[in-house]
């Protein structure tokens, strides 16, 4: 994974994990790699890796069971909530970008519809 070195790395990896959960690549209840394995997998410092699960746990995205490991939440509602959160985040970033070039929400909706059509034809 390529990191943006100006943004906290733990945040970028946490986002990546959330994406995998939301798309089902990491299904509910799936076992997540241990701290050291996580560090090796992503090529990041182990201290940074430790932070990631702390944060994800705080958000209810995963749970650590002593001696067993860290697991993705098996609550479908949590996954759904997460998906909505991430979607909202993406939308607001998109809208902010468009606002930056002087376009508003209606323009945005129009763009999406057009984009969607071309997608169907591909």
């Amino acid at each position: 994974m390529n990191f943006d070195p100006m943004i906290p790395i733990w945040l970028q990896v946490a986002t990546s994990i959330k994406q995998q959960i939301v798309t089902g690549r990491l299904p509910p209840g799936a076992k997540l790699p241990g701290g050291r394995d996580l560090a090796l997998q992503y090529g990041i410092n182990p201290n940074t890796a430790a932070r990631i699960y702390q944060e994800l746990e705080r958000e209810g995205v995963c749970q650590t069971q002593r001696g067993l490991g860290t697991f993705v939440t098996d609550s479908g509602e949590t996954v759904q909530r997460l998906r909505e959160e991430m979607a909202r985040g993406a939308v607001s970033r998109f809208l902010a970008d468009l606002k930056g070039i002087g376009m508003n929400r209606e323009d945005a909706i129009e763009l999406i519809r057009k984009e969607d059509n071309t997608d169907d034809h591909q």
Partner: protein
Amino acid sequence: MITSKDLTRKFGTKTAVDGVSLTLTPGHVYAMLGPNGSGKTTWMKMAAGLMKPTSGEVLFEGQPVGVESRRHVAYMSTEPYFYPWMTVKDVGAYYGDFFEDFSAEKYASLLREMELEEGMKTRTLSSGMMAKLKIAVTMARDARVYMLDEPFNGIDLLARDEIRQSILRESAEDKVLLLSSHLVEEMEAVCDTAIFIRQGKLIEVRNLEEMRETDHVSMADRYREIYGHTEG
């Protein structure tokens, strides 16, 4: 852990390391940064016991650096240093003879990853292969402190990834890893603390993730901020 107290080293009129007081604690991967000639290598050599300070001291786990610290400190210099009559295998045998923490299995496995063969003579190795050999033999040790001076120099992309993996594999709660490199980007994800040195003096020590969170800068950006205006 390694602590330097007011460590100074002069070469005639030039002061290479100027009163540096620094502590490296286990469980961290440090990046030591600074332009050429800022004193990084000299500091490391004193910590490794290869160079004597002009004044001040450097301690390993509370004791002055010496025979005992060399048992547990693995230092890799920028320059090649193996005996020219040795083969890759001989280098491993040498380390095995003198360092109890050296693992022949790890060495063999690292050689495979780096695509080096036992029969190769050090005399005929290209600079890239020599660089990889130095890393392989150093990381095959199970040391308490690793100090790698320019571990990424002259090494191809894939091997650099290997080296980073090797560094991460060795990092542990009870170990200190110190990397010094001009390739700041290579170290961004792997290190957790940056040590900035300029003209022999310690400028600052920063936790990288904190720096990213509060200042929104990368290690490379901070480097430019510190060294950008005046001569290194």
